[in-house]
Amino acid sequence: MITYLFLGLFLLMMAYLVYFQVFCSEDFINSPYNKRQEAFGEHVVRGEIRSADGVTLAQTLVGEDGTEVRNYPYGAMFAHVVGYDVNGRSGIESFANFNLLRSHAFFLEQVLNGIQEEKNPGDHVITTLDYKLQETAYRTLGDSNGAVIAMEPSTGKILAMVSKPDFNPNTIAADWDGIVSDEANSVLLNRVTQGLYPPGSTFKIFTTLEYMRENPQSEDYSYECTGTFAGEEADIHCAGGSVHGRENLIESFANSCNTSYANIGLGLDKSSFSGLCKSLLFDTDLPIQYPTARSRFVLNEASTEFQTMQTAFGQGETLMTPLHMALITSAIANDGALMRPYVIDHTENYKGITVKNYRPSAYGVLLNQQECQKMQEMMRAVVTDGTGHGVYLGNFQAYGKTGSAEFSNTKGETHAWFTGYAVNEEQQKTIQVTVVVEGGGSGGQTAIPIAKALFDAYFN
């Protein structure tokens, strides 16, 4: 019996070692604390980073004298998502560093290279990025600062990720001092994952979910909008002086009626609302390999009436990253289940033979089926009858929510938001898009055209 006991212990230990090598070693190998990666470059030429449709996004050019230069054919277009290979690295160049510096060339070839003292070709990293979508997002965002992210809700594949202002990764080493000292623009900040913006009216998604949880008969909601809601401290006005008249919940959402949401907000249980936001990834590290900022939501018993009303329609002290909004939208599109966002599809050796596949994985179920159905209905109403009419036409069925978030005390300056998704039943494809245009005015005017361009590019 003692023999078998020890046999069991040793077998378990060996099994654990195998398990560690297969499943956990990646986390440790790619840890920034692990300094072993640097040594690989001596024997391997760094591999390429490519888009899902085969466009080279980063490559190492070897000169005749053996000097190596990392080249990014599309310059700033993929700056934040692909990253750079100098000054501490960022983006895919950083977290796929190990993959790029390993060679799975054929064994005999490696032996031959060893004899001739030549470097082995490193593995290529094939991303989930869609060149056409990235190009569209980059072009349509134009000279504005802001963030665009497109994802596939059923898998979590990131299709496009643009952050502006940007930089040219080809010359970043030379430009470094200028970029770092330019604190006003924070060029290196990936605004998709690290940019904290007031969510404006897109936040009404959260307020609506909380209202539906507290009031099972949410269909019975009714409110008479006169354009102004008289508060004790200050009045709330609807955007652009609109008067929406009598509305139910769906109409309030579609019209993005601030006074109706101020009314809803005052009736909500504050601690329950905080709990809902916490469960929907506020104050949480988002599941992605890029550095992220935590979204912030503040509402408690000490909040004043005015703060409560403001919070209900996305002003107040609430701040969100575009990625966070994208993940919640994805979960709604995917009937409540959130997939972990990922950007590396697989790695292959230089001859194109797959080395490692990365599969979609579920993060968890954030919302139940019924909540999602109602939310989908409302987001559809925004497009058919409300502020999101700009994405109505096309060979797809679009859903979404717009937002115009005030960010300074000077009245009128707003960030334009759109978050939503589009489905094409025939192609059986769904794409989720979140757009923020800094100082872009209203979401319907500046953010929606970008989303529309992405939907068109995706389904055509």
């Binding site: 040793f10 230990m13 440790f28 300094k35 072993r36 003292e117």
Partner: protein, 468 residues
């Protein structure tokens, strides 16, 4: 060129190690005929020399240190001396155990040379000295025989006295009061008390296994364990406790004692967790090493960086960065081996250690003298459990307890005590061979006759694992 040799040697050394491991286990099989077994054991010996030669060739090319040649030749002579001794003076000893011992020593020499030449030199000197001392043990055991079982009080005094002295007087090394220094030589008594402890428990259980005696044994073992815990040697305490538990169970055959002891041990561990900060630190490092990288998890994180980056085939000798792992020469030597020689090699290493353990238990099963049966069992448990604690801690399978990997890690006390354990086992193989020798010869004669199946035949085949 150097790169090519290193790369190719990764695979050749792995193949040699895998063949060595395979032959070791196939020679263990019960139905393996003695002639075939002798062939396998001879091949194993060849693999030890080839692996050792291959590894030093890589080191010679990559380190470019001419002194390496001296060290290499010295070690070859050392192994040859051991083999000559065991094929002349101790012919009846187990060659399989000798092979495993030499392979583990060779792996230790190689990886220590790669880590630090001076350390490797020192380790080699220590190995030479220790081997010299422990060589007389089989002879001693064979001669003294029953004398050892009567020294109960001496064992108890020596064990508790020494451990207590160290706990009170000893200097604190790395948070544990483990060693004292005499004339410039630092000795860790607990390494030797392990052996004395096994003899103590064996002699007590030999006298009687009645309830009163079990209580006495428990008190004696408890004293050892408590002193070790107080001197913060958690790994040592665990090893002593498990050895006591296993010996008690086999002597009494009462599962209640075993599982009761296990339950008691678990409760004690939980209490220790809340009572001692240094226990909590180990557990924290085990749960999330990267999350506590700066402090608690630093060592385990570096160990896992090494093992992970090494992958299945390793970085190649001298191509990794094992020097970054704290305590790599002692407690974390397994990580260095996994990094440079690879995950597959590391798995083989675990199997070789397990093969040693099986050989220890094998002789325990066969000894007719109950005292030596318990001794073999206790020493086997100590060896097996120490390997488990060491490797398990390195790979984050269990919290790290800071124990060495026997025969591989650097350290004189660990080396000498392990070589002594191996020698005692060899002594038992010799003794057993003499006990059963006459009978074996008889059986052999009879099996030549047609249909001469004897009840003792199976036993004979099993015995022959220990002999050539």
């Amino acid at each position: 060129m150097v790169h090519l040799i290193t790369e190719l040697s990764k695979y050749t050394m792995l193949i040699l190690m895998a063949l060595f491991t395979y032959q070791g286990f196939s020679a263990l099989k019960r139905n393996c005929p003695p002639a075939k077994q002798a062939r396998k054991v001879r091949r194993q010996t060849a693999y030890v020399y080839l692996f050792h030669c291959n590894a030093y060739a890589v080191l010679w090319f990559s380190m470019e240190n001419p002194d390496l040649l001296v060290l290499y030749v010295g070690q070859v002579l050392f192994f040859t001396a051991i083999y000559i001794l065991y094929s002349t003076a101790y012919r009846k000893a187990s060659r399989l155990v000798v092979n495993n011992m030499c392979m583990l020593l060779a792996i230790g020499f190689v990886i220590l040379t790669r880590l630090n030449f001076e350390t490797a030199m020192r380790q080699f000197q220590l190995a030479g000295g220790s081997a010299g001392i422990s060589m007389v043990i089989p002879f001693l055991i064979d001669r003294v025989r029953s004398g050892f079982r009567k020294l109960t009080w001496l064992y108890a005094l020596a064990g508790i006295g020494m451990l207590g002295a160290v706990a009170v007087l000893g200097v604190a090394t790395k948070g544990a009061n483990l060693s004292f220094t005499i004339a410039g030589i630092t000795i860790q008594p607990s390494e030797f008390i392990k052996i004395v402890f096994v003899f103590l428990i064996a002699s007590m259980l030999y006298t009687s296994t009645g309830f009163l005696q079990v209580v006495k044994v428990t008190v004696a073992a408890g004293l050892h364990v408590v002193i070790l815990v107080l001197s913060r040697d958690l790994g040592g305490a665990l090893i002593f406790f498990v050895a006591y538990l296993v010996m008690l169970y086999v002597a009494t055959r009462k599962p209640l004692y075993f599982f009761g002891g296990l339950a008691g041990g678990s409760i004690a561990s939980v209490i220790a967790y809340f009572l001692f900060n240094h226990v909590r630190v180990r557990v924290v490092a085990w749960q999330d090493p990267l999350g506590h990288f700066e402090l608690e998890g630093y060592q385990v994180s570096h160990s896992l960086f090494a093992i992970g980056t090494g992958g299945w085939f390793g970085m190649g000798l001298n191509q990794g960065m094992p020097g970054r792992i704290p305590e790599v020469k002692k407690d974390f030597i397994f990580s260095a081996i996994a990094e440079e020689l690879g995950g597959f090699f590391a798995l083989c290493l675990i199997l070789v250690c397990f093969c040693c353990f099986l050989m220890f238990l094998n002789i325990a099963m066969q000894m007719k003298d109950r005292f030596y049966k318990y001794v073999a069992l206790g020493l086997g448990t100590i060896y097996g459990f120490q390997v488990f604690l060491s490797i398990g801690g390195n790979i984050k399978f269990i919290p790290s307890t800071g124990v060495t990997l026997p025969l591989v890690s650097y350290g004189g006390s660990s080396l000498l005590s392990t070589l002594m354990i191996f020698s005692i086992i060899q002594g038992l193989y010799l003794m057993h061979q003499k006990e059963g020798g006459a009978r074996n010869d008889r059986v052999k004669e009879k099996t030549k006759q047609p249909g001469g199946k004897q009840p003792g035949e199976k036993q004979n085949a099993k015995d022959s694992t220990g002999s050539r």
